[in-house]
């Protein structure tokens, strides 16, 4: 490599490191702040878990509720999304393309607008409005496109039509084919979609902020609360808990994607 090449490499590396630092440093800072006795005095003031404990005491219900909603959202998207993806893939005509557009619309509409629409339509049903099911409805609509797209991608790659025809020629009914052949072969897409749905649901704020009530707060909603009203250490500890929940999911998604890319290139 010439001197000039080395210089260009070094400059690009420096630039990229700066950008990465911009993104990571505050995250690391917040994780540290969550376990530091006093943020102003820094690490010297010592490490402690008191803030984390306080977060648990104040907000454990939001953590449980977020998990509950995420898992319930997953359930809904699985039951609704997998058959829909299958049907859409089979039909592949203008009708199904229109349906795909409609399903993807919630992504285009800002969460705020969606929440507003839900409030104006169902705000009157106070039992529904006040329960966590209301939030579930919003999350399900919002995450459904990801599940459907993920499963459809796998269908596209594995020529599911031929598998289906093969099973049919052996005498299997549509339902049995779906259960024994279609779903098992779509597993990679289902898994990827599931990870995506859970991650999105855990982190969803725009919709949830509008839909929540003091009794149905989720973790991101609690975070917003704590940023506004709690001391920095508590807010940081709460953010730390959120990171601990999210990071394993992100790592799983990355590993999964790399594994599938590796298998596809075989």
């Amino acid at each position: 490599m010439t001197m000039r090449d080395r210089l260009i490499f070094a400059l690009q590396l420096l630039f990229t490191i700066l950008v990465a630092a911009f993104l990571i440093v505050p995250a690391v800072l917040s994780m540290l702040a969550g376990i530091t006795v006093n943020y102003f005095r820094g690490i010297q003031s010592g490490l402690t878990l008191q803030w984390v404990v306080q977060v648990w005491q104040l907000y454990s219900d939001t953590i449980f509720r977020s998990f509950l909603i995420a898992l319930a959202t997953l359930g809904v998207t699985l039951v609704v999304g997998i058959p829909a993806a299958y049907a859409l893939h089979l039909r592949s005509d203008r009708f199904s393309r229109a349906i795909e557009e409609i399903i993807t619309l919630p992504l285009a509409i800002p969460g705020l607008a969606l929440a507003l629409a839900l409030l104006l339509t169902y705000g009157g049903f106070s039992d529904f409005r006040r329960s966590w099911l209301f939030i579930l409805a919003g999350h399900a609509i919002f995450t459904l496109p990801f599940m459907v797209r993920s499963v459809m991608a796998v269908f596209g790659a594995i020529d599911v039509k031929t598998l289906d025809e093969g099973a049919a020629s052996l005498g299997a009914t549509p339902w049995r084919r779906f259960r024994d052949v279609i779903v098992p072969n779509a597993m990679p897409g289902i898994l990827a979609g599931s990870l995506m749905v859970v991650t999105l649901s855990l982190g969803e704020f725009n919709l949830t902020w509008m839909l929540h009530t003091p009794l149905t707060k989720t973790l991101p909603v609690g975070l917003a609360d704590s940023y506004a009203s709690m001391r920095l250490e508590v807010a940081s500890a709460y953010t730390l808990v959120f990171f601990l929940m999210i990071i394993p999911l992100l790592v799983a998604m990355q590993m999964f994607a790399r594994q599938r890319a590796g298998a596809a290139s075989l």
Binding site: L23, I109, A113, R149, T173, F205
Partner: protein, 271 residues
């Protein structure tokens, strides 16, 4: 049962869910938006009423600036990372894509940690220049926040596109005598154009609809989502809020449709 019946049944849960919790509410939203004193003219109010025009302008300008900045940053870093391998490469990529799942509120908090009243950058400037710079709660802070959640998204898309570039095109240009900069200008950037459009549109749409970040930073800068929020919750101007939401939704949808026509399938999640 026949195949056709089964396929029809597969659509049923989707139809119910989408109709009940999406189509119906959206239709109501559109109607309510037009139920205010201005009727359907409320929809054009966004464009013509000076109060809202400024907000719209701010939002569009911010989204545009974020998009351009993220594209430039992502291209420089994305090209560099895809073309070079060195110890720590995987770590660098992980650091750049990790914030992908952060909701807007967390991004706002990150900016506060960087540039708020006890911010890291403030400490730095205090040391260097004797003055503490606090800009988390201003337009610059908002811009940084938007940049924070745009960069990971755009960089992933750009890196994927760089990976798919045909190396023989660059070799052909080199064989014809083109130096590195000319290869970038004449071969690489044109080849990345579809990726720029697709990811740029998604970044723009996400920035337009971003709420959590602005909410946490609680700036005075008016962006459309915040305006909708305050009109609904504080001023109870339901019709106006509805109209503005529909307008915002239309603009965002149009931009994303543009992205899809160039083959992009990105993630336009939380902001």
């Amino acid at each position: 049962m026949s195949k056709r019946t089964f396929v029809g049944l597969c659509f049923a849960p989707l139809a119910v869910l989408a109709a009940a919790f999406f189509l119906l509410p959206m239709a109501r939203l559109v109607l309510i938006g037009a139920s205010g004193e201005q009727g359907f003219h409320a929809y054009t109010a966004i464009l013509f009423d000076p109060r809202y025009r400024a907000t719209l302008f701010n939002t569009v300008a911010l989204a545009a600036a974020t998009t351009i900045a993220s594209l430039v940053i992502a291209t420089i870093s994305g090209l560099f990372l895809q073309r070079n391998r060195f110890p720590g490469h995987a770590l660098l990529v992980a650091m750049l894509t990790f914030p992908l799942a952060f909701p807007g509120v967390v991004v706002g908090f990150m900016i506060i940690l960087l540039a708020g009243r006890q911010g890291l950058l403030g400490d730095l400037t205090l040391h260097l220049f004797g003055r503490r710079e606090v800009f988390a709660y201003s337009l610059q802070g908002l811009f940084l926040g938007y940049l924070y959640f745009s960069i990971p998204r755009v960089i992933l898309t750009i890196m994927a596109a760089v990976e798919k570039l045909d190396p023989s095109l660059e070799e052909a240009a080199r064989a014809l005598g083109a130096g590195p900069w000319r290869v970038v200008r004449d071969v690489i950037l044109p080849a990345l154009a579809p990726a720029f459009i697709a990811s740029g549109a998604i970044a723009f749409a996400t920035a337009m609809g971003a709420f959590g970040t602005a909410f946490t930073l609680a700036t005075d800068v008016a962006v459309l989502p915040m305006l909708i929020y305050t009109e609904f919750t504080l001023s109870a101007n339901i019709a106006l809020a509805a109209a503005l939401s529909v307008g915002l939704g239309l603009v965002t949808w149009a931009i994303l449709a543009l992205a899809r026509s160039y083959g992009g399938t990105g993630v336009a999640a939380a902001g």
